[in-house]
């Protein structure tokens, strides 16, 4: 066999530069843009000229269907069946994602648009509905009592669930054992408890059996029953990903288990815990059904959680929407907008806490480990200083050892 070397042909046309990988060539661009341009025309023809399909929804549906068909047709002209499937799938998936996006946008926009007329009046934020006629103009009355009620109920619920929830998570991850498994199973099972059943439980026990009046306290108990398993479970998930080596390092340095939890495990998991708690709160603030059963609805400002009926934002919205009175419905939309702003704020805080601005580009685990190592270093130094203090207390006359000797020990 002989080896043929390539011969340079001076008359050959200059090589065509290959297009960059991933960017479409002219053919593909034509298929992509042309198909959808054709789809607009076809959709117009079908909906406006051929068939009695008036309205924007029909236009969009026909446009999308025509676009998919056109893409498939144009692709078959130049490429194989494999590519046709790929293009069609990509169009359908993108379209469905757009539908979901549109639904989200429509929800937010609709609530704000309908709530706008009530929201623009400042008294809507700072007044309550005491003595305000249901038909009164927006210049009278507001939802201050509902906002206050929501915050009070949520505050009480948080005071109850935060220590219990995180304490349970600490128990499940740090102590564990057979009993820990039982607790974990039950807590996970209770996350399935529908919120209305939690409300009904408190209604039956606290209000009917023990004779408490419907109040903010009862409502916050209902919210607590609902939130406790959620927070405990989320915190459990967060604590479980704390690397075991950090715990072992801390214990090896001579820290007690409590100090390990307090100085190493919890600080390491802090962002995750904060996210878990805030998302639990966001869930709790929007939950209507437990509140509906337990708090009663006052239309005036109540700040005493055990002092009878107390309103809250979700309940105010629910009652307003069911009232059938246009003015009250618009107020309900205003309150819903406020509730959404509240949830959005909580959500943004959760994101910021979970992802501090300085460490945005570092991967998560590294950050966790770095944080844990720092906590360990602090712990080591505090243990070391305590050791030195006791040593120097035992021998007060001894001069402090030279620096070099200390670092060697």
């Amino acid at each position: 066999m002989t080896t043929h070397l390539p011969v340079l042909d001076p008359d050959a046309a200059p090589a065509v530069p290959r297009p960059a990988v991933g960017s479409p060539n002219a053919d593909e661009l034509f298929v992509r843009i042309g198909a959808w341009a054709a789809a607009v025309a076809v959709a117009w023809l079908i909906t406006q000229r051929f068939l009695p399909l008036a309205g924007i929804p029909w236009f969009l549906i026909v446009f999308f269907a025509a676009g998919v068909v056109m893409t498939a047709l144009l692709t078959t002209m130049t490429s194989t069946w494999v590519e046709v499937k790929d293009r069609v799938a990509s169009a359908v998936i993108t379209g469905a994602a757009l539908v979901v996006g549109a639904a989200l946008v429509s929800t937010v926009a609709f609530v704000f648009l309908r709530g706008w007329r009530a929201l623009v009046h400042t008294n809507f934020l700072f007044d309550d509905m005491a003595g305000v006629d249901p038909k009164a103009a927006f210049t009278e009355g507001g939802v201050a009592h509902a906002i206050t009620g929501s915050l009070i109920q949520l505050g009480i619920a948080l005071v109850v669930t935060l220590p219990l929830g995180i304490g349970t998570a600490v128990f499940m991850t740090e102590v564990g054992g057979r009993f820990g498994k039982v607790v974990r199973t039950i807590v996970e099972a209770m996350t399935a408890l529908p919120s209305i059943v939690a409300g009904l439980f408190i209604y039956a026990v606290l209000i009917l059996t023990l004779g408490f009046p419907p109040s903010g306290f009862a409502a916050s108990m209902a919210i607590s029953v609902m939130m406790l398993p959620i927070i405990a479970r989320a915190a459990d998930v967060v604590l479980r990903v704390v690397p075991g080596t950090l715990r072992e390092a801390s214990l090896a340095l001579g820290a007690s288990r409590w100090r390990t939890v307090w100085h190493v495990v919890l600080p390491t998991a802090r962002p995750g815990l904060a996210t878990a708690v805030i998302l639990g709160v966001a869930r709790g603030v929007g939950e209507t059904s437990p509140v509906l059963l337990t708090s009663g609805a006052a239309n005036f400002m109540v700040t005493n959680p055990v002092g009878g009926a107390m309103n809250s934002l979700p309940l105010y919205i629910y009652n307003g929407a069911r009232s059938g009175e246009p003015q009250l419905i618009d107020r309900a939309f205003g309150a819903a907008a406020i509730l959404m702003i509240l949830v959005l704020a909580l959500f943004v805080i959760a994101r910021l806490v979970a992802r501090p601005a300085g460490a945005r580009n570092r991967p998560r685990l590294t950050r966790r480990v770095v944080g844990g190592v720092r906590a360990l270093a602090r712990l080591a130094s505090s243990l070391g200083s305590r050791g030195r203090r006791t040593a120097s207390a035992a021998a007060p006359a001894a001069p402090p050892p030279p620096l070099a000797a200390r670092s060697n020990t």
Binding site: D86, S90, L208
Partner: protein, 336 residues
């Protein structure tokens, strides 16, 4: 100079130290305190379950098995049966899932496979935000914005697919020139559109998380073999994420079963075993509780609690199945 340790023959023989895992001192305090916290939470959460379970006993003693099998709910003549209510609950949840499932899968695929890297983080946040929006807001959206359109869609479905038994609407004539709007609104279908919005982001978040854990090596192997993007999805991403798809769907189903406010806002109550999903009137366990609790006598209240317990059991079974499926699948035991 090296000194060797001197063996002292008269010393007592070294005994192995007794090793004990029993915590002592402050550790014991910590362990026991944690145990107390765990036990108290166990008592609280377990207490709810036990209390609900206990409430079913007087109910079954009073109403017998008819409580589960009967479909009439007439407190005035003391006849309570939740068969119709359960059928309503399940039908709303199933329709909601059949709307939400395809959208959730495709949205999750879009976010992991198609979205430009720059906006991926934003999209993930948006889906999470969607999951955090209170259900009452989706209730308002479903009731005031979507209901007329959904009724129109129901009308169209009835006319076009009149041979499907589920789509029959009693008391209407699909061919009449003027359609009677009141027969098409406030149906299980309307409620499930709002419920679908609520469970969609939840299911989507689980699926997205699982899809994003697809091993990069397998993805690249498929690409290197000449697979298109769709080829990668069908041959690598979907098989890998099957557990996540099923688990996310069932988690969403569990949430859909328990949804109260959006359903209570939209439906008009009707107590019967009903398969006509487009027709006005239905009921679900949770909305039954929300509507009936205030005028219930003690025995009816325990009936409501028993209905709540049945719902809880239903949700629990669905959620447990979801957890088992997600944990067993290759994509692993990552909780949401």
């Amino acid at each position: 100079m090296t000194t060797l340790p001197v063996v002292d023959p008269s010393a007592p023989e070294a005994q192995p130290r007794r090793i004990s895992r029993r915590p002592t001192g402050s550790d014991a305090i910590f362990v026991n305190a944690a145990r107390v916290v765990g036990a108290s939470v166990l008592v609280i959460t377990g207490g709810v379950g036990v209390f609900l379970a206990a409430q079913t006993i007087p109910t079954f003693r009073h109403y017998g098995l008819d409580f589960l099998l009967g479909s009439r709910w007439e407190p005035e003549i003391d006849v309570l049966g939740i068969a119709g209510v359960l059928v309503g609950t399940v039908s709303i949840a199933l329709i909601a899932m059949s709307v939400a499932f395809p959208l959730a899968v495709t949205t999750a695929l879009y976010i992991t496979e198609y979205a430009p890297a720059r906006i991926k983080g934003l999209l993930v946040s948006l889906v999470d935000l969607m999951a955090a929006i209170p259900s009452i807001v989706y209730g308002l959206w479903g009731f005031f914005l979507m209901m007329p359109h959904v009724a129109e869609l129901a009308y169209w479905l009835q006319r076009t697919f009149s041979w499907v038994p589920f789509f029959e609407i009693r008391g209407t004539d699909p061919n009449s020139p003027v359609w009677d709007t009141t027969r098409y609104i406030a149906s299980a279908f309307c409620a499930s559109v709002a419920v679908a919005m609520m469970v969609l982001p939840m299911a989507c978040a689980v699926m997205r998380q699982v899809f994003s854990q697809t091993p990069q090596g397998e993805r690249e192997a498929a690409l290197a073999l000449g697979a298109t993007r769709w080829g990668v999805i069908t041959s690598v991403v979907l098989p890998f994420g099957r557990g996540g798809i099923i688990g996310g769907t069932m988690l969403g189903l569990g949430r859909a079963l328990g949804e109260t406010i959006a359903v209570a806002l939209i439906i008009s109550p009707a107590f019967e075993v009903k398969w006509n999903i487009l027709e006005v009137g239905t009921i679900s366990v949770s909305s039954l509780i929300a509507i009936q609790f205030s005028e219930a006598s003690p025995s009816q209240l325990s009936a409501l609690l028993a209905a709540g317990f049945v719902l809880f059991m239903l949700t629990l079974v669905v959620n447990t199945c979801a957890a088992v499926i997600v944990n067993r699948s290759r994509s692993g035991a990552d909780d949401t």
